[in-house]
């Protein structure tokens, strides 16, 4: 995907020169392997820093919330689905945006890759579908498909769903992937095993809120965990409060989550936060035939009422 870089710069320069937009939001190369930095360009000089590779996994729709002015944004499949969600939820207007669509072949998982090597990784390079990981005294080239983030491995919307122009040809969508294999495993557990599983899952949480803050859906002016009058949730490391935060946040994303994986990517403790949102995505698909952010013309199932909405789960 690194060959998209030149095209991104070319488009960015053009839309800025034409005065079509005030800024272009994209990525610049990070100072740490696999950690690119969201970056904006307002002039030709900063356009040169824009890049694209398989470490652009953050969701740039997060940087659009309530922005004024005209903005060009580099957006892969999931980012465009969150842009659609943002437009539906009145967080940005479609007319303000020039969407530079990126047909995506998936992002690599820095947590997984770091865990694969005992030594520090100092360089990650890609060439086509091969990723070369090196450090002091080692270098290994592996197929990208084995290094994908879990959400990318099961993604069925790699192409942008909404865009003004594309940086390359559309890519083939993945078929035959079981998106919900991990959810089914948890669903099959006994209540006691589920309890232990989630207890273990959340045990490392330090409540930094990176998952919430990297999520384009989490734009509430005051999050429920930050409310102080009244205060709903305790602030300590008490497991009940930690779980309350994660469970309520997940439910607040029900029918809105695009499984972009930003929450997991940013977690400093490597917690698999998608285990929660993924279950709700599965429920929304099974109950309402709904996947978030695919169309500007459809209201999400949880903010509309239909007489034939399923209600078997109401006991």
């Amino acid at each position: 995907m690194t060959d998209y870089t030149d095209k991104i710069k070319e488009i960015a320069k053009r839309v800025l020169d034409e005065g079509k937009v005030d800024m272009v939001i994209g990525f610049r190369k990070g100072t740490v392997p696999m950690m690119n930095q969201p970056h904006y360009a307002t002039s030709a000089a900063s356009v040169d820093e824009l890049i694209w590779d398989s470490s652009c996994g953050l969701n740039l729709a997060n940087y659009l919330t309530d922005k004024k002015g005209n903005i060009a944004i580099v957006a892969k499949g999931c980012d465009t689905r969150n842009i659609v969600t943002h437009v539906i939820e009145n967080k940005i207007k479609r007319e303000q945006l020039h969407i530079i669509g990126v047909p995506c072949t998936g992002m690599i998982d820095h947590h997984k890759i770091n865990a694969m090597f005992d030594k520090e990784i100092t360089k990650v390079e890609e060439s086509g579908d091969q990723i070369t990981i090196s450090g002091n005294g080692f270098s290994e080239t592996l197929p990208k498909k084995d290094l994908l983030a879990e959400n990318c491995a099961v993604c069925t919307h790699r192409n942008p769903v909404e865009y003004d122009e594309l940086v390359g040809d559309l890519v083939e969508e993945q078929t035959g992937v079981d998106q919900y294999a991990s959810v089914k495993e948890v669903e099959a557990m006994s209540p006691e095993d589920k309890w232990n599983y989630f207890e273990d899952l959340l045990a490392p949480c330090i409540r930094c809120y990176a998952c919430r803050n990297a999520c384009p859906l989490c734009y509430c002016p005051t999050c429920f965990v930050d409310e102080s009058r009244p205060q709903w949730v305790g602030k300590s490391q008490d497991p009940t409060d930690v779980r309350t935060f994660h469970l309520l946040r997940a439910y607040h994303c029900a029918g809105r989550c695009t499984d972009c994986g930003a929450c997991e990517r940013v977690c400093p403790m490597g917690i698999k936060i998608r285990e929660f949102t993924k279950k709700l995505n599965k429920d929304c698909l099974e109950l309402y035939g709904w996947e978030a952010g695919l169309s500007l013309d459809q209201r999400p199932p949880l903010d509309t009422y239909k007489a034939d909405d399923p209600e078997d789960f109401i006991k």
Partner: protein
């Protein structure tokens, strides 16, 4: 001060033996990363790590700590009286502290143990603790300790420095606390005459592996307001999502929030780590927030570490160069880049450039 040479077996046996007199903490691999934990009986620290994911600060300064208890029971004699919880720290030892993290304790001490304020919770835990350091024989690409007041063999903040030499360890006693731990561990046997030169050689080799640096020499002479008003803050803060990762993984971030939690007729007053990245950190009861916008919060964190602290204590920066915030920042905000920008900031030149454009 004593210099001892022991093999790996004696090291392990000594740590196990010391558990009779100390609660011993050490780095242990948990799932994918090493973190400090209280070592169980026969559990040994795992020294096969570059540095732990989280710093050891939580051992002295837990993320959540109960300070007082109270009763709201009107029939009780001490109704509505804040009573300090028992605050007695039994001897602790932290084994395997990297020199960068070791330096964080004297830095944090300037805040918690000053002529003006004595934080009894922090001080008691700190005074009860023996810090057994482990020199770094090689650095990470994000380590810049040598330009942050220490180095891979730095001794400040430590009671003992362990230096790994193949399967053997040099044990360098640095303080009386260190001597007591060595005694409890039963480590003995003077190192040979070449030990000092061997340690020096290992130190030089280690220092040569440091590739990162920050420039800090001009920070003190800068005018606070000129740096505060510098034009780069908004751009540098653009990617920030205002999470607490940098703060919570930082060994020198010391801010906390005080909370009361009531359960029925009794309650506790506790403190929890807080982060200047969070809007709530400065949210006034009136509703006003003096740091309402994210770049103001990003600026605060760097100004505190690299300017206000520098000016107030005249003792270098409030950063030990461990590189955790660089490695773990989800959006790649790099303190080295910000520090160098601050150090080289020329207000007059920036003003000229602003006029020219």
């Amino acid at each position: 001060m004593t210099l001892i040479k022991i093999d790996k077996k004696s090291l392990d046996q000594g740590i196990e033996k010391a558990k009779a007199a100390y609660r011993v903490f050490g780095p242990v691999k948990q799932k994918t990363d090493h973190d400090f934990k209280l070592l169980d009986k026969s559990e040994l620290p795992d020294f096969n790590f570059q540095n732990t994911r989280l710093s050891p600060k939580a051992i002295i300064y837990p993320q959540s700590q109960i300070m007082f208890e109270y009763s709201l029971d009107e029939t009780s004699e001490d109704c509505r009286i804040m009573k300090e919880v028992e605050n007695v720290a039994s001897p602790m030892a932290v084994v395997g502290v990297r020199p960068c993290d070791a330096l964080s304790f004297p830095i944090v001490r300037r805040n918690f143990d000053s002529p003006e304020y004595q934080d009894t919770y922090w001080i008691k835990a700190y005074e009860a603790t023996t810090f057994v350091g482990l020199a770094c024989n090689s650095a990470c690409a994000t380590c810049f300790c040598t330009s942050a007041g220490t180095g891979p063999f730095g001794e400040e903040g430590l009671d003992i420095l362990l230096v790994a030499d193949g399967n053997n360890f040099f044990v360098k006693e640095l303080t009386e606390k260190g001597a007591a731990f060595i005694k409890a561990a039963g480590w003995s046997g003077d190192a040979d005459a070449n030990a000092a030169s061997k340690i020096d050689e290992l130190k030089k080799t280690a220092e040569a592996t440091i590739t990162a640096a920050v420039e800090t020499d001009k920070l003190r002479e800068k005018t606070i307001l000129e740096l505060y008003d510098a034009s780069f803050w908004e751009e540098e803060a653009f990617s920030c999502i205002n999470c607490g990762t940098c703060t919570y993984v930082c060994p020198t971030c010391w801010c906390f929030d005080v909370q009361d939690e009531t359960f029925g007729k009794s309650g506790i007053r506790m403190r929890n780590w807080d982060s200047c990245m969070f809007p709530l950190f400065t949210h006034h009861a009136s509703g006003h927030n003096p740091r309402d916008v994210k770049y103001q919060r990003v600026r605060q964190r760097f100004m505190h570490k690299l300017k206000y602290y520098v000016d107030k204590y005249d003792n270098g920066i409030q950063c030990v160069g461990c590189g955790r915030c660089i490695r773990l920042c989800p959006v790649n905000i790099d303190i080295r880049r910000i520090c160098n920008k601050m150090n080289s900031f020329d207000a007059a030149k920036a003003a000229c450039e602003a006029v020219a454009s």
